[in-house]
């Protein structure tokens, strides 16, 4: 039986795909959290904001690397049938179309996020913001994709996925209620009659 992947076994490929998938999911959770910190926190006199921003940007690019491996090994491995189209077009997979599709959605959105951010100054700000808000769709899509497809027989991976979900939701809850001095003052003034 010939295979596309030569001496590398299907098992290794499947293992690599799951590992890089989990790493990507952890990274995406971290990136999203860092983004929420940028929005809701103000420490203008320290160097922390620049560190947070640098991590937010660099980890995003780094995640692409892990995702490339994740997708590549999933395609190469022949145990289940997933081709390149299925990786980017939702529902195009023969194997588990909905769940693989969630991964495709997450990947598409991540690509849109990164490209729109690299080209931010050529886009209208509202367009950039809208695309950036889809990160709140991308992350749960990635989580669900990972939880259902890659962790069923690995309690450790399952725990990591759940931990990411819990952490992300907690920080999201904080982000929804956290306020900055700037935001509070604007809201206070807006309460007056301006129309």
């Amino acid at each position: 039986m010939t295979s596309l992947h030569g001496p590398i076994s299907n098992e290794t490929l499947w293992y690599t795909s799951r590992a890089t998938g989990v790493v990507s999911m952890v990274l995406l959770t971290l990136i999203m959290i860092l983004g929420m910190v940028i929005t809701s926190m103000r420490r203008p006199y320290s160097s922390a904001p620049t560190v947070v921003m640098a991590l937010h940007r660099w980890l995003s690019l780094g995640t692409l690397g892990f995702l490339a491996l994740h997708v590549g090994t999933a395609i190469a491995e022949t145990y289940v049938k997933i081709d390149l189209i299925a990786a980017v077009v939702p529902m195009a997979s023969e194997f588990q179309p909905k769940l693989v599709g969630l991964g495709a959605v997450a990947l598409d959105l991540l690509l849109a996020l990164i490209i729109s951010s690299l080209l931010r100054h050529r886009l209208p700000e509202r367009g950039w913001k809208l695309i950036h808000f889809t990160s709140y769709l991308m992350w749960p899509a990635a989580l669900l994709h990972g939880f259902q497809l890659g962790t069923s027989d690995e309690p450790l991976l399952r725990a990591v996925t759940v931990a990411c979900a819990v952490l992300g939701v907690m920080v999201l809850g904080w982000r929804l209620f956290a306020t900055t001095h700037d935001r509070r003052r604007r809201e206070d003034v807006d309460a007056g009659q301006w129309r």
């Binding site: 940028i38 103000r42 203008p44 006199y45």
Partner: protein, 71 residues
């Protein structure tokens, strides 16, 4: 659209600015912060600080910095 460095100014969109403080970090030669975290522009004409200026414009999370056209 940036013009010649000698005449190029850097401007803060004061309505968009929400005191992230990135400008003072990445372009300390051009910006200080007041006691509420909002930028004080040290040199409105960027001159030899053009690369700092461009970096600050690019990285401001609120996109509150701009280099107005010199035409």
């Amino acid at each position: 659209m940036a013009g010649s460095p000698a005449q190029q100014r850097i401007k803060v969109d004061r309505i968009a600015c929400t005191a992230h403080g990135f400008c003072a970090q990445v372009a300390a030669d051009l910006f200080d912060l007041d006691d509420f975290g909002y930028p004080i522009v040290r040199h409105e004409h960027v001159g030899r600080h053009m690369s700092s200026a461009k970096r600050a414009v690019k990285l401001c999370p609120a996109r509150a910095l701009y280099l107005p056209s010199t035409e």
